[in-house]
Symmetry: C2
Subunit: 255 residues, 2 copies
Amino acid sequence: MCQLLGMNCNVPTDIAFSFEGFRRRGGLTDEHSDGWGIGFFEAGAWRLFLDYLPSATSPVADFVRAYPIKSLNVLAHIRKATQGQLSLANTHPFRRELWGREWLLAHNGNLPELRYAGQRFRPLGDTDSEQAFCLLLDRLSAEFSTMPDTIALFAAIRRITAELAKAGSFNVLLGVEDLLFAHCSTQLHYLIRKAPFRHAHLADADVSINFAECTTPNDRAAIIATLPLTDNEAWIRLEPGSLTLFRAGQVELAG
Amino acid sequence: MCQLLGMNCNVPTDIAFSFEGFRRRGGLTDEHSDGWGIGFFEAGAWRLFLDYLPSATSPVADFVRAYPIKSLNVLAHIRKATQGQLSLANTHPFRRELWGREWLLAHNGNLPELRYAGQRFRPLGDTDSEQAFCLLLDRLSAEFSTMPDTIALFAAIRRITAELAKAGSFNVLLGVEDLLFAHCSTQLHYLIRKAPFRHAHLADADVSINFAECTTPNDRAAIIATLPLTDNEAWIRLEPGSLTLFRAGQVELAG
């Protein structure tokens, strides 16, 4: 299995603190050492870093940690391979363009019953996760010729993710522009950081931050993770079978 | 205008030496300071680094220089904006998936007469270059439902690039897996490095390398660049209006 991390904010924010705890699960505090990836939405496209080395020791992860990139929407994944070889083509997040917009998907779970060769969207690698991404985009593209409004998009993604979840477990983060969709099949948590800001302490390292010192009162950030990243904040467990849409650092739609 | 750099090899090779000279043209020895990008083909996908900062000073370029990645096929671009804002969505190389394969394109030139909104493939940003890429992939996708053989693919790309070149100037590198297509509209040079290997000296910095010390006798690499990168090797000028396909470090098809 793998681990997911998402961040969705109302002002561009760096993810250095959460990423520091998260990356340690890739080979140091946990066993997810079969590669990792992180995407930052930025000016119409995603800035994506991928590596099939463990995130705890990857030089690309050192670079991302040392060069904090501010973004409204961030999506990351560390991999414990269940299907597919160790390769760049099998490293999440996957990306595709649909309706002139770039989409990113990362998956935690296993879909042993899924076999999908793709139509318009076809997998580069041999993971169940990328097959699921291609199926989802093929369906959306068949249903809408341009980007629909958020309510119609949410309803369609709700229906398709529920169908995919029948093939196994499908905890997923799906990002497009400033929208972050989170489908929970078995395990996914979130919290909203907003004023009054306090200290936070990582669960995976003895590292603290006082968010009051690096935020303004209007800042808001939703953090979504497979398992809580801090041990002194109130993480909310998402309901199995639910889809949640985050925008501007808060829940916009859920069901 | 922009500058292009490609490398196509028969064994995975690092591009550190050529990249060092090339990146200096992005804000140091030349004026191409509106961003840059480089893609390395690796295990079924392209590892792509993009930045809209000048390549001479970009932290991402420092990282790429310090962490040499070996690849059979490399494609890079530094930008002097003619159309489109400075943003990640407007930074070359652009990428798309077609037939379950990932394609990369970088363009040097200007297509003032091109207006293409896209069909299946639509631009993320607002450059003429990405419009041309979408047009090329839309045409290929309409003509073939799966990847054709190399001769048929070359003929189709030859026809589409010739048509695009009528809209202005279209010097282009197009990469898919181990294939590197180079279309020359006005200016593009290449050389093949193979045994016996010698010293090479960069044109943009007083840096030399003795390739005899870091190669084996069977190694072969084609380097393609807008302008020669070294001042003591015999670069070959590509014919305006020609398309050349490089594979395994040599010219496979040309016309």
